[in-house]
């Protein structure tokens, strides 16, 4: 496991593909949320979305193979947090997923992870890197306080 925090306010975390390491991810997310000065609701939203992405990468991307790593990068800026999650799986078609809200799917135990990521973050993109894996990019914008942004525009988005 490796955690790096450089001067560009990029934080990286690499974990082997075992779900027990999700608790370590959770701890890093707490640190990232503190750095971002997110409000409680936003912190909870980002926390769950990234945990869903990490769990998907471990289980479905790397098939729980502990020899394969999952890479996380948190890019912190004044107005937004950008999170990258990369695995070594064969990818999938994100446009071909069941809608978990449709009546025929609401009782299914699976299939809500990506739906939740999209619902909780402001932007979610999937990039298939051929045989080299899949990368998820997620963005959460920060709601600026009036004191922070110097004007009365409110949401910086």
């Amino acid at each position: 496991m490796k955690i790096k925090n450089n001067k560009k306010r990029d934080i990286t975390l690499d974990i082997p593909s075992e779900v027990r390491h999700i608790y370590l991810l959770d701890n890093v997310l707490a640190y990232v949320a503190k750095e971002m000065d997110f409000d409680e609701e936003t912190r909870e939203q980002v926390n769950l979305a990234v945990i869903e992405a990490g769990t998907n990468a471990i289980k479905h991307g790397n098939k729980n193979d502990s020899n394969k790593m999952v890479h996380f990068r948190f890019n912190i800026s004044n107005d937004k947090l950008t999170v990258y999650v990369k695995d070594y799986g064969r990818g999938f078609d994100p446009s071909n997923l069941d809608d978990p809200l449709s009546p025929e799917n609401v009782m299914k135990p699976c299939g809500r992870g990506i739906f939740l990521m999209k619902a909780l973050m402001d932007k979610v993109e999937f990039t298939m890197i051929g045989e080299c894996g899949t990368e998820v990019k997620m963005i959460k914008y920060k709601i600026q306080s009036k004191a922070d942004d110097g004007d009365n525009s409110g949401i910086c988005k």
């Binding site: 075992e18 779900v19 999700i22 608790y23 909870e44 869903e52 609401v106 009782m107 135990p109 809500r112």
Partner: protein
């Protein structure tokens, strides 16, 4: 993650503490499986100490809901925190699961259909 089981009549109350994520989901699933295998008819999940659960944990509750329904049993959620209620709302699972803020009301709800 900590799970305390309180058996009552023909059901059980699971007092849960901590985030239900990562390998905590497997422990949560095992605890529920053990109870359902012992032929109980109702389950109350005390979520007062659970600030977060992931979609796999939600799936585990759905499985318990379906298995208990087969035997005309019931599962309800007690003391769900705001963050959990929000996820139930987003996923529309609030239409499936009954939630209570009062222990006696939760017990009455699971026993009324027995």
């Amino acid at each position: 993650m900590k799970i305390d089981v309180e058996n009552k009549d023909n059901g059980a109350i699971l007092h849960l503490e901590g985030k239900i994520i990562g390998d905590g989901v497997a422990r949560f699933k095992q605890a529920i499986e053990e109870q359902i295998s012992s032929n109980i008819n109702w389950l109350i999940l005390d979520l007062s100490g659970v600030p977060l659960m992931d979609s796999s944990a939600l799936g585990t509750i759905i499985m318990a809901f379906l298995r208990l329904k087969e035997r005309k049993g019931k599962i309800v959620l007690l003391y769900a925190q705001k963050s959990i209620l929000e996820i139930l709302n987003i996923t529309k699972l609030n239409s499936l699961f009954e939630t209570y803020d009062n222990m006696q009301m939760a017990i009455d709800a699971v026993k009324i259909d027995q």
